[in-house]
Structures are given as structure tokens and as C-alpha cells.
């Protein structure tokens, strides 16, 4: 360890993605001095590219499995295999550096799944310790600080809003028109997906450049809304945000009273450094935040920090993306929106009696897959030869997807642990994921994919493929529930303010506090919750400003 450790900070945030950047903005603007330790690099916009080969196929943004592997097994009886399970870019900006940028709100009922569904055998359901009404002001703050493009009132299932969106919806695409037509024919409500892209100039930011290379690509133009262009600059502008990239935290140490004392990390030169702070906030993503607690063993916490209850890492939920795919005679140019510009329905989100599953999820239209040329593929199509070439030629401009993010149920045995064999390039044990879908997950996916197929047929699709889900691979990059928040310290890790029950100066603000996965894309809720938690920290401490 070096002799010249940095000055003690008010707050040390581990991670500078969506949640860490939101917390940093709120805390620094309230006058607190924040040190952020981000394990990945800090890229400026001109370092990002519209290069499908580099970004989608060669780990330019995705974690390289030879450097940051994870392992996966379906159950404790199976041997784990190295797999790129639920990856998220490890860099300043985190997942928002290359995300789809869909920002729907949770509905009021989604905060109370246990009350609404009742007991489901095998599932470890829980109501959220907070309500929609408590989170609504923070949804509003994030939408307006970020600049979200959407149409208030268009989604008839959305809860009450304190006001509309700062920007009108993005321009319509051909594939979204097909989706709206199909929904209208079937009597379904549909709406433009609220988006982190700007439909118009806002707050000094230009309108977003529409590119085919959006989802899974960084943004060389700097015109897309993400943590890099919104909350990081806001925190830096206070002069109180010390953002240190390429700093990989290996452990959080505790003092004699069992409070978090320091974060021990390797800096960019590989030197070991110790950062002390009054309080620590985990913002590494639900997998890595759980892993860091499990790596932080001490006499007081032999099973990992804040894990006396053995709940850390359990109940992990991941969503899963799948879709029905439709082919149309006229071109729909599914790639034109870059995976960014979508249209949605919440018709299958709310729980309904009389189905063979509980819950439901957000359904939205997009291009097929990435949806760029190299990554474009269709079910049942040959991969090589004349037939493959013909299929690409006929389908590339003529297909679209109506997809879902599966609302998977929490199960205690689906969990994140430390792998006992595989280590990362720094020599630390990697996260091992154990996950088997609940029968409800498969039934829900199957039923909704069938509805999606009907939407495509109603819109005039000449051929429809249904891609059912049979396993969860984490292909959404959404990850939640590994450090559940709740009122009972025996069944949750964090209290309702996302402070650890067992360590009173330790918080988590990424997806890990979510008691359930919800049926919507999580990042808006993650950011709103991070803002709420940061506010509670400021209130508890008394603002020094």
C-alpha cells in the first residue's frame, strides 16, 4: 500500500454509471465532497465509434471475457462454465454508454407484486418498501434533468405524473408505424417509447443525431442522453467530484465497530491505494456490487460485508429479451432507429387473473437483434450458402421485432456468488451466477410472444417467427435484486433508504436494491431511486453547503 493515500472524502461512490453518476450529481450539488472510483476508462465522445465489428463483436465496450469473465450454471448441481452472462460496459457511463435508452416508468401496481399476485410457489416475492407516489417526484426530476422525449398521457396504464415530458416524442419510424397499426387493429393502447434521445434541442444540448449505430455503440457525436453527457458533467461542474477512472476496488474494509472504513483499490498504474470516507455507496451494477461485498470479508463479516443475513447475492433477477419477428412486403428499415427509437404497449404489463402466469411486462417494437448487418439473423434461416444470402437480401430491410423484457420472478436459489475456480485478470474470484427460470417466467414469455406475433400479423406481416425463451442469459444487461431493500433485516440487505441494515454508512443505488425485477426497463427507476437515496443522505447528514 502506498504511503500517500488520498485525503478522506465525505462520500466514496464505487462506480460511475447511471446510478453512481446520479448520486454524484445530487450529493456534490448539495455541497458534499465525492470521490468516485470507476474500474474502467473515462472516454470522451470522440473516442466512441459507429463500428459494429469493434463494438458488438470485439469487446470494444463490452467486457472482454478473457479479462473480466463470469461463470454460469443452471443449478448448484451443475458445473459452472465461463459465460458472458448479463454483461455491462465497465467504464465511465456504464451501461448508458451504449444503451437502448428506453425510459418507461414502473406502474403503481409494480411496487406491490406480493400483495397483488399472492403467494407463488417457488418464488420469493416481496412488495417494495416504497410506493410509486414516493418515487414519482424523482422520476420527474430525472426526466427533466436528463431530457426525455415522450408523450405524456399516451400510455394509459402509467401512474399520475406531476407534469409531462420535457421533449416531444422522437420522429416516427416505419417499423413503429406498423406496431401502432397492429395495436390499433387489436384494440390495444400503444405509445412512443420514452427515450433518452432528444427530439429537439434542450437545456443547451442539441437534438440527437439519428444513426443506425446506437444500441450497443457509444455515441461519437455526444448528442445522446446518457450519464456521460448529463450527470457526470453536472457533478464535475460543482468542483467537488473527484472522478478517478481505471481504479478497481478490491475490498471495502471495516473499522473496529464494523462500519465501512475504506475502499482499497488498484489505480491505473496498478498501485494499491486506500480511500477513506464517511460513507460508501455501491454503484457497480447488481452483480458486481454483490461480488464486492462478498469479496470484503473481515472478522466482523466472515461471509462478506453486510451479509450476516446470508441474503447478499440471492434473489437475483435479470429480465430477458426476446421477440416475435415479422416480415413485411414493404421496407420497414428496422435498423434506421439504431435500436433506439421504439414504440410500446403496457397492455401485457399489469397482472390479470385468468392467465396461467402472474405479472407481465413492457412490449416494444424495434429492429431485429442489434439490428445491424453483421449481427442480423433470423430464426430457421440457414447461416451460409446461397439460401443464407437470399434470406439476408430479402429480409434485412423488411423485418422488425416486437420484443419484451421478461419480468422474471425472484427465487432464493438464483444468486450471485464468488466462483471458487475462475479468477479475473487481477486474480480476484469472478462472479458465479446460478439461475434457473421459474415456470412462471417461461409461461409469461410464451404467452406474450404469442400476443406480439398477433400484433405483427394484424399489421400485415407476411411471415412471423416466435422466439420463445427457454433460459435466461442476461441478454438485456438488466440486473437486479441482489441486495434487496426491505423493512425486515433477515430477508433484505438494505433498508428502504438503501442503507445496509448491518452497516450504517454503506449504501447501494444500482439495480441491486430492487426487491423484484419489474416489467419495465430499469434504468429510469435506478436513477430516480439513486436521486431519492442521495436526498436522504443529504437530509440525514445535514447539508454542509
Amino acid at each position: 500500500m502506498t504511503n500517500h493515500n488520498p485525503d478522506r472524502a465525505d462520500v466514496c461512490i464505487i462506480g460511475a454509471g447511471a446510478s453512481g453518476a446520479t448520486a454524484a450529481k445530487v450529493l456534490t450539488e448539495a455541497g458534499l465532497r465525492v470521490v468516485a472510483l470507476e474500474r474502467g476508462p473515462w472516454w470522451q465522445p470522440d473516442q466512441f465509434s459507429a463500428d459494429e465489428l469493434a463494438n458488438v463483436h470485439r469487446y470494444n465496450l463490452w467486457p472482454d471475457p478473457l479479462i473480466n469473465p463470469r461463470t454460469f450454471r443452471a443449478s448448484a448441481a451443475d458445473d459452472p462454465v465461463v459465460q458472458l452472462f448479463c454483461p455491462v460496459p465497465q467504464m465511465v457511463g456504464g451501461g448508458t454508454a451504449h444503451w437502448t435508452g428506453w425510459l418507461p416508468r414502473m406502474t403503481e401496481n409494480e411496487f406491490r407484486p406480493k400483495s397483488i399476485y399472492g403467494e407463488v410457489p417457488g418464488a420469493n416475492l416481496a412488495d417494495w418498501p416504497i410506493t410509486y407516489q414516493e418515487l414519482e417526484p424523482y422520476y420527474d426530476k430525472v426526466e427533466w434533468a436528463f431530457g426525455v422525449s415522450g408523450q405524456a398521457g399516451a400510455n394509459k396504464y402509467e401512474g399520475p405524473r406531476s407534469r409531462g415530458y420535457p421533449c416531444p416524442p422522437l420522429p416516427p419510424t416505419r417499423y413503429n408505424q406498423k406496431f401502432h397499426e397492429g395495436c390499433a387493429k387489436l384494440g390495444y393502447n400503444s405509445f412512443p417509447t420514452p427515450s433518452a434521445a432528444l427530439s429537439c434541442p434542450y437545456n443547451g444540448w442539441p437534438a440527437t443525431n439519428q444513426s443506425a449505430f446506437a444500441q450497443q455503440h457509444g455515441d461519437p457525436t455526444g448528442t445522446r442522453g446518457n450519464a456521460l453527457t448529463r450527470f457526470i458533467p453536472a457533478a464535475l461542474a460543482t468542483g467537488r467530484y473527484d472522478l478517478r477512472p481505471d481504479c478497481y476496488v478490491q475490498e471495502i474494509t471495516v473499522d473496529a465497530r464494523g462500519r465501512a472504513r475504506s475502499a482499497v483499490y488498484w489505480d491505473a498504474e496498478g498501485e494499491t491505494v486506500e480511500q477513506e470516507a464517511d460513507l460508501f455507496i455501491l454503484a457497480c451494477g447488481a452483480i458486481e456490487s454483490a461480488r464486492l461485498l462478498l469479496l470484503s470479508r473481515s472478522n466482523q463479516f466472515p461471509n462478506g460485508l453486510a451479509n450476516g443475513s446470508d441474503v447478499v447475492g440471492r434473489n437475483a433477477t435479470f429480465h430477458e429479451y426476446s421477440a416475435a419477428i415479422g416480415a413485411f412486403e414493404d421496407p420497414v428499415y428496422g435498423w434506421a432507429g439504431g435500436g433506439y427509437v421504439g414504440a410500446s404497449t403496457f397492455e401485457f404489463l399489469e397482472h390479470a387473473e385468468g392467465r396461467d402466469f402472474v405479472g407481465g411486462c413492457h412490449v416494444a417494437s424495434a429492429g431485429v437483434g442489434i439490428p445491424l448487418p453483421i449481427s442480423f439473423s433470423l430464426p430457421d434461416k440457414p447461416t451460409w450458402g446461397q439460401a443464407a444470402k437470399d434470406a439476408d437480401r430479402e429480409c434485412f430491410n423488411h423485418t422488425m421485432a416486437v420484443g419484451l423484457v421478461l419480468h422474471d420472478l425472484p427465487q432464493e436459489t438464483n444468486r450471485v456468488e464468488l466462483d471458487d475456480q475462475v479468477k479475473d485478470a487481477w486474480g480476484l474470484p469472478v462472479a458465479r451466477i446460478t439461475h434457473t427460470p421459474h415456470p412462471n417466467d417461461l409461461a409469461q414469455g410464451r404467452w406474450i410472444i404469442d400476443r406480439n406475433a398477433e400484433i405483427l400479423e394484424a399489421a400485415g406481416a407476411t411471415e412471423v417467427w416466435r422466439v420463445y425463451i427457454d433460459k435466461v442469459t442476461g441478454n438485456c444487461s438488466h440486473q437486479h435484486s441482489t441486495l434487496r431493500m426491505g423493512n425486515d433485516p433477515t430477508s433484505s440487505v438494505l433498508n428502504k433508504d438503501c442503507r445496509a441494515h448491518e452497516v450504517d454508512n454503506l449504501y447501494a443505488v444500482d439495480g441491486s436494491p430492487f426487491p423484484t425485477s419489474t416489467g419495465v426497463n430499469p434504468t429510469l427507476t435506478i436513477m430516480a431511486n439513486a436521486w431519492r437515496v442521495a436526498d436522504s443522505i443529504v437530509a440525514r447528514r445535514g447539508s454542509p453547503a
Binding site: 420522429p171 416516427p172 439504431g338 448487418p373 451460409w384 416466435r466 427457454d470
Partner: protein
């Protein structure tokens, strides 16, 4: 500009015989018909350059050359290229051994239908795995889907045949800066009106708005 980049991506790994074998296989993976195929796109140049070392892994974001890899990234890519090279050398041996055993000649010297027959045999194990999986799903009450939207296989985990298919597709459809997709013939073949160059996307001059709905302009004006 483009000409300079072609010179830059002339780095090679294969010897002439190896190169001829893979070039012939690629020409069957994406054949030439009334539109260009793998041969015209130069997918062999794309692959040969990729396997030459770690100097052509990532183009610079504006297309003005390639990134120099350092530290753990460089180590990982050295390791990956070594693994992929080994798979190609074994795959080339298998293509030629099968060519001589089945049809009495090296793979590159066989007729197209003979080459297709060998590739079909080599695809076999992959197909078998897929069929086993579909049967399993049928038994558990699912109609056979293909997980087209789940991409969990890492490049180094692929067997030779799917690796060859992947690289042919990459060489046909990746940005021309990597030495394939020559004159954007791959994009033209499937109807993708991609950007003129990485520099166009980097500067924000590339826009897909012309491929939005026809009413897009109206909403755009209202929004502005």
C-alpha cells in the same frame, strides 16, 4: 483515403496454400450470384489481416488508422488471436483431408458442389447439437425455436465451421476500414445504405432520418 487504408490492412498470417483454401471456402459461405459475394468483398483479406497480430483489432473511431493496444487488453487479444489461428490451421487441414478423401483433391481445387458437400459435413456436428436441443425443447412442450436473440457464445468458444461463417460475415458486412466489404459491396448486397465512412459517423454527418416514416419530417419540424 480508402486506398491508403487498403495498404494498411495488407498484413497477413496465412501462407499461399492456407489462404487459397480459406478463400475458396468463404466463396461458398457467401457465394457470388448476380451480386458480389465474399470473393469480391475481399473477406479473405479481412481475415488474413485480423489474424496477422493485434495491430488491426480496433479501427480508430474516425477511421484514420488503428488503435495500439496496451496492458491487459493487448494480452487478452494476443491470447485470443493465438487460439483462433490454431483453429484455422486445424480447420484448413480438415478441409483438405476431407477433400482428398471424398473427391481426391485439395479443397480449393474441387468443384463448387463438392466443396459444398464437404462444408455440409463439417457443419454436421453443429447441426446435430441444434437438433438435439430442439428435440429437448419439443419434449418439454416447446415448439422448436432458435435462440437468435441470445448471443452468449464467445468467439474463442466457436468450432472452426461457425467461426469461418462468422468471419466471412464480418468480412462481408463490417466497415470497409477493416479490409473487407470492399467498395461496400456487402452492404449493397443486402440493401444497407450504410455511412460513406467512419469519419462521416464520427462527425455526425451520417443520418438515418431519410429511412424513417414519411411523416417524420413533419414531427421533426414541430419538435424543432
Amino acid at each position: 483515403m480508402v486506398a491508403n487504408r487498403m495498404n494498411e490492412t495488407e498484413a497477413r498470417f496465412f501462407d499461399d496454400f492456407q489462404r487459397r483454401t480459406i478463400e475458396a471456402a468463404m466463396a461458398r459461405i457467401i457465394p457470388t450470384d448476380h451480386a458480389p459475394g465474399a470473393s469480391e468483398a475481399g473477406t479473405i483479406d479481412f481475415l488474413d489481416c485480423y489474424l496477422s497480430g493485434i495491430d488491426f483489432i480496433y479501427a480508430k473511431p474516425d477511421g484514420s488508422g488503428f488503435e495500439r493496444l496496451k496492458g491487459k487488453r493487448a494480452e487478452a487479444w494476443r491470447q485470443r488471436i493465438e487460439i483462433v489461428r490454431r483453429k484455422y490451421l486445424e480447420g484448413i487441414d480438415e478441409l483438405n483431408q476431407r477433400g482428398r478423401a471424398e473427391f481426391g483433391d485439395d479443397f480449393a481445387d474441387l468443384a463448387s458442389d463438392q466443396q459444398d458437400a464437404i462444408l455440409t459435413i463439417m457443419e454436421g456436428p453443429v447441426r446435430e447439437q441444434q437438433r438435439a436441443r430442439e428435440e429437448e425443447q419439443a419434449v418439454s412442450g416447446f415448439t422448436p425455436p432458435e435462440p437468435a436473440l441470445q448471443q452468449i457464445a464467445a468467439e474463442i468458444d466457436l468450432d472452426f465451421f461457425p467461426l469461418l461463417v462468422l468471419h466471412t460475415r464480418q468480412g462481408f458486412l463490417a466497415d470497409p476500414v477493416y479490409g473487407g466489404n470492399r467498395n461496400r459491396v456487402g452492404w449493397d448486397a443486402i440493401g444497407f445504405s450504410g455511412p460513406q465512412s467512419l469519419a462521416e459517423t464520427h462527425a455526425g454527418r451520417y443520418s438515418t432520418l431519410p429511412y424513417f416514416a414519411e411523416t417524420a419530417g413533419v414531427t421533426d419540424d414541430e419538435a424543432g
